[in-house]
Amino acid sequence: MPPRSIAPTLLGLIAPTQRLALVGLAKNTGKTETLAAILRELAERDTPVGVTSIGRDGEAHDVIDARIEKPRIVLERGSLVASTDALVRASGLTHERLARTGMRTPLGEVVIARLAERGAVEVAGPSAAEELREVSDAMIGFGAEIVLIDGSIDRRAASSPAVVDGLVMATGAVLSEEIEAVVAATKDAVDLVRLPAVDGAPASASTDGSEEIMLGRSLVLGAEPAEIAALLREHPSASTFNVEGALSERFLEGLLTARSERAGRELRIVVGDPTKVFLTRRGPDWYRRQGLAIEVLRMIRLQAITVNPVAPQSHRFESKRLRELIEAAIADVPVIDVLDPDYLALAK
């Protein structure tokens, strides 16, 4: 059966992006395989690349389940890498250390190096999002045309628009034994990543009874129901709440409860970007239906979804079926299995 449209390669999809984050919805969703696929495609075009990771990648065995073997990260000669000094040296590859960063991790200080030969490297970059941006810009300064930032577990911080220009999300069979549940969890995660941008003028920071209220940190994080109710009473005409930092599920639930006592007025919650929203039980759509619209100041560009149809030590789905179900549930994002023979033939 022919593909439903002309299937693009990953590189084609991410092409104009200078800094790209790879985020998995869980461990073993194939994030590092996706990274390896992009690296292969870049190598064929001799594109200079820089690689780093918010966690640790390219290690031989999984740190949580040692039975799982992990893919290695193979970099071409001339590639840049931001990893710990010890891991770069342990690769045994000839390299030139371009910069020390002063960024400390539990595995040592992060350095930026250029490889003088092709080979496998373990990558453990800085742990903080802000530092990832700094090492990415440094690698671009040293000549990388594109920087790839590998995520860790299901951490989303690296996908913030403050760090990268684009995102590739990895999902897979590991999320559930039921294929429908994998699709639903992927859809929820995509809805969160693609929260709509706030329309109109940027939010102002007024704290009186006008339309827009800037919420205090401790109120949003602490989310005491009585305080939330008091807030709504104090600002009966407020329709927009601006949140500076993290927006928790607890706060949204408190808002719903307090609001129902006030004849359920429609509210808009504005956050910096999708990485600051923490939802585990219900997706943004559910809150929208309850009259709580979550919007962002800066959006994330989701450029592709990759799937791993295999759950290590457990079960597997048919790759094509999983891809088709996800494509049917999520509009406008190409879905790719980088290890599928059809894709491998295409990417050649």
Partner: protein, 259 residues
């Protein structure tokens, strides 16, 4: 750099090729034990020896075996390990922490930091076990090492157990904390991973990640896991309060110097 040789004079150890030690250098002798679900007897003994050989041990010996309950036999084995490990490279990886005694920590902190170091700790999420965080923070401590509360260098705030991640972060911001110490005892279905990940993501979302030292502890926590999760250090079984204290004062001093 670590020296490539160690050991008593005349008995140098090659740190790039370290083997287990029993009676003499490089004999590779390992003592280990396991249980097989088979009845006690000579066939069981033979099976244990055969299995040890398959594990890669040379000259495996059963030095003790006994029936545990009907149909189960327990073995203590000796075997010769033929593999070696490169300790020199591992010890070079930079995550070795130089521990200090309590007095040294107090002196170091007063000289290099010169103000109380604010530490907020909790067992987060649904975890009801406060034993880990109490052992590290409370005056009583454990095994004769009192907790960080007992140091002049620290101002500690133990929020207890079942604390939500957002509440912990709110408190840490309010107290202008230098470090967050989070404990995770329950590890069923990798619950600790989800909890620890959410905490670091909230700290990021609040723009506090570079401001605060983030450390985690628990029976299944390691430095490798800490790196993967985005923490500054991970403390496992066998950690005493002075280990955590050494790390925090050194890390804070290094950050203060860099700023």
């Amino acid at each position: 750099m670590q020296p490539k040789q160690s050991g008593a004079p005349g008995r140098e150890v090659d740190l790039e090729r370290v083997k287990p030690y029993a009676d003499h250098q490089n004999d590779g002798i390992v003592q280990f034990s396991f249980t097989l679900p088979v009845p006690y007897g000579l066939a069981a003994r033979k099976a244990a020896q055969e299995l040890a050989r398959k594990m890669g041990f040379e000259h495996p010996e059963v030095v003790h075996y006994q029936g545990l309950t009907e149909g189960y036999t327990y073995f203590v084995m000796f075997g010769e390990c033929t593999e070696t490990v490169d300790y020199a490279t591992l010890s070079d990886e930079g995550f070795e922490i130089e521990y200090m005694s309590e007095d040294e920590i107090e002196a170091f902190a007063s000289e290099r930091i010169g103000r109380p170091i604010v530490i907020v700790g909790a067992a987060t999420g649904t975890d009801t076990h406060s034993v880990g965080i109490d052992a590290m923070l409370n005056l009583k401590g454990f095994h004769g090492h009192h907790g960080l509360e007992g140091y002049r260098a620290f101002e500690t705030h133990n929020l207890g157990s079942q604390v939500s991640n957002s509440v912990l972060v709110a408190r840490a911001i309010e107290l202008d904390a230098d470090a967050i110490l989070v404990s995770q005892t329950v590890t069923q279905q990798n619950l600790h991973i989800n909890n620890l990940t959410e905490l670091v993501e909230i700290v990021e979302a609040e723009g506090q990640r570079r401001r605060m030292i983030l450390t985690c502890g628990g029976p299944r926590v390691s430095n490798e896991l800490a790196k993967e999760l985005g923490y500054d250090a991970g403390f496992s079984k066998g950690t005493y309060p002075y280990h955590v204290a050494s790390f925090i004062v050194r890390e804070l001093a290094a950050r203060t110097a860099a700023a």
